[in-house]
């Protein structure tokens, strides 16, 4: 060998060079692919919002099927009639409201800064849907989703997603057998905002009881389930005043 790989100087130089090379490859790749990734994320958000209000390609399949990406933009504009931004007492319209990142808004709220809360109002077959974003934490990392409500505060549909929940256990919150259970549940209990709990021992596996503010938990995913429970109640509480203003019963 031409050089001594045991020398300290060589080790330090090797490490420095490695960091520079690997770092620049990754940085180059990340910035080169960023526009494509951003576009994919935008479509995904539109798909998720539409999914929560029941606009999807689920029919005839047992799994989650979104509106395909090549059509989603068009479908999104035809179903989502209004996008509002709630900032303090002010409610303004903004057709880019769906791009608001809840994670950043909640971080701003925590620091006591001004924050924005988006609401998407969809219309399907003459019926109005109020779709709200949710954000919380599961077992390993962030979980988020959208919940669609009607004027009676009955859930019309939900969509959940997660960053790193355990595959086969917590990751199943984005499967239909879990999400479909929320449909028809009320978020109100005795006239106050109660959210929906994910509980064990619900004794209601087919989820026929829609009055109990609860759905059946996933086996082996207690902490993710609890995360969903608190995500729903915390997120809805942010919208308390707004929901009160649109509530009809």
């Amino acid at each position: 060998m031409a050089f001594n790989t045991e020398k300290n100087l060589y080790t330090v130089l090797f490490a420095a060079l490695m960091v520079v090379v690997v770092g620049s490859i990754l940085a180059y790749l990340a910035s080169g692919l960023k526009p494509l990734i951003k576009e994919n994320e935008r479509f995904e958000k539109q798909q998720n919002i539409l999914y929560a209000m029941g606009v999807n390609d689920n029919e005839g399949t047992g799994s989650v099927s979104f509106i395909p990406t090549d059509r989603v933009e068009e479908v999104f504009t035809s179903y989502i009639k209004e996008q509002l931004v709630i900032s303090g007492d002010q409610i303004t319209e903004d057709d880019q409201a769906y791009l608001i990142d809840m994670k950043k808004q909640l971080a701003a709220r925590k620091k006591g800064q001004a924050f924005k809360l988006p609401v998407y109002i969809g219309e399907k077959e003459g019926k109005k849907f109020y779709i709200l974003p949710m954000y919380g934490k599961g077992l390993w990392d962030a979980i988020w989703g959208f919940i669609a409500l009607d004027e009676n505060m009955i859930v019309q549909g939900v969509y959940f997603d997660h960053k790193a929940e355990t595959p086969g256990l917590g990751a199943n919150i984005k499967e239909r057998f879990f999400m479909d259970d929320f449909e028809g549940e009320s978020i109100m209990e005795d006239g106050r905002l109660a959210g929906i709990k994910v509980i064990k021992g619900n004794n209601d596996p087919a989820n026929t009881d829609k009055e109990d503010n609860a759905v059946d938990a996933l086996a082996g995913a207690t902490i993710t389930g609890n995360g969903v429970t608190s995500m729903i109640s915390e997120s809805l509480n942010l919208y308390k005043d707004y929901l009160e203003s649109v509530r009809s019963n």
Partner: protein
């Protein structure tokens, strides 16, 4: 004409059975516990590890003469992490749906001790072609066990395979459930994976007594 010499072929065949990374070397148990509750997750993980291990072993093997031995573990980690991130980013840009499925496995691949184990034990001392075969072989051996464990855990724990109900519907009581069969919820929990792996080790050793250590 043989595509592989006998010695090279053994690099692939050995880890599938007599030198399996999970049942014989007992490596990679952490990810085997975590993701085998479903068959689909097992298959995705197996494919990802085959890729990372095949490419990673070649990269490390090519660099084997210039890596300073004092920081070789760090170099190995950087190679794995960089590979996984490159794959993740490319998928995010061109196959977004697939990348969503794989995202949760990224952390598990980086920390998979089989990968580090093969870099350390094989790729640092052998040429690229043999390292490639060794990587593929060990990843296949890992994947086979993952799929077997995933098959039993999903079948007995949820009554489904790849998400499709194969034993009937537990809620409306059809198929097997109509005669009183119940899903075993324990199979979904991580300890069940240890039991299934334990049974596999037992079966393998009882069939091949040469594997039993004397003491």
């Amino acid at each position: 004409m043989a595509l592989l010499t006998k010695k090279d072929a053994n690099l692939i065949i050995d880890p599938l059975a007599d030198n399996n990374p999970i049942t014989i070397q007992v490596l990679g148990i952490c990810s085997a516990l975590a993701i085998t509750a479903e068959l689909k997750a097992s298959v995705v993980m197996a494919i990802s590890v085959i890729f990372v291990m095949g490419v990673g072993n070649v990269v490390i093997s090519l660099m084997r003469n210039i890596i300073p031995s004092k920081i070789r573990i760090i170099v190995q980690l950087v190679v794995i992490a960089a590979l996984v991130i490159v794959v993740d980013q490319v998928l995010k840009a061109f196959a977004y749906e697939l990348s969503k499925t794989l995202a949760v496995f990224v952390g598990l691949i980086i920390t998979n001790c089989i990968i580090m184990g093969r870099f350390e034990a094989f790729a640092l001392g052998n040429g690229p072609w043999r390292s490639f075969l060794d990587g593929i072989g060990n990843a296949l051996g890992y994947g086979v066990i993952l799929i077997i464990v995933g098959f039993f855990r999903e079948l007995l724990g949820s009554g489904t395979l790849f998400g499709y109900p194969v034993l009937g519907d537990p809620i409306t009581k059809t198929g097997l459930y109509s005669i009183g069969y119940e899903n075993n919820g324990f199979m979904i929990l991580p300890p069940a994976a240890l039991i299934v792996v334990g049974i596999l080790i037992w079966v393998q050793r009882s069939r091949n007594t040469a594997l039993i250590e004397e003491n």
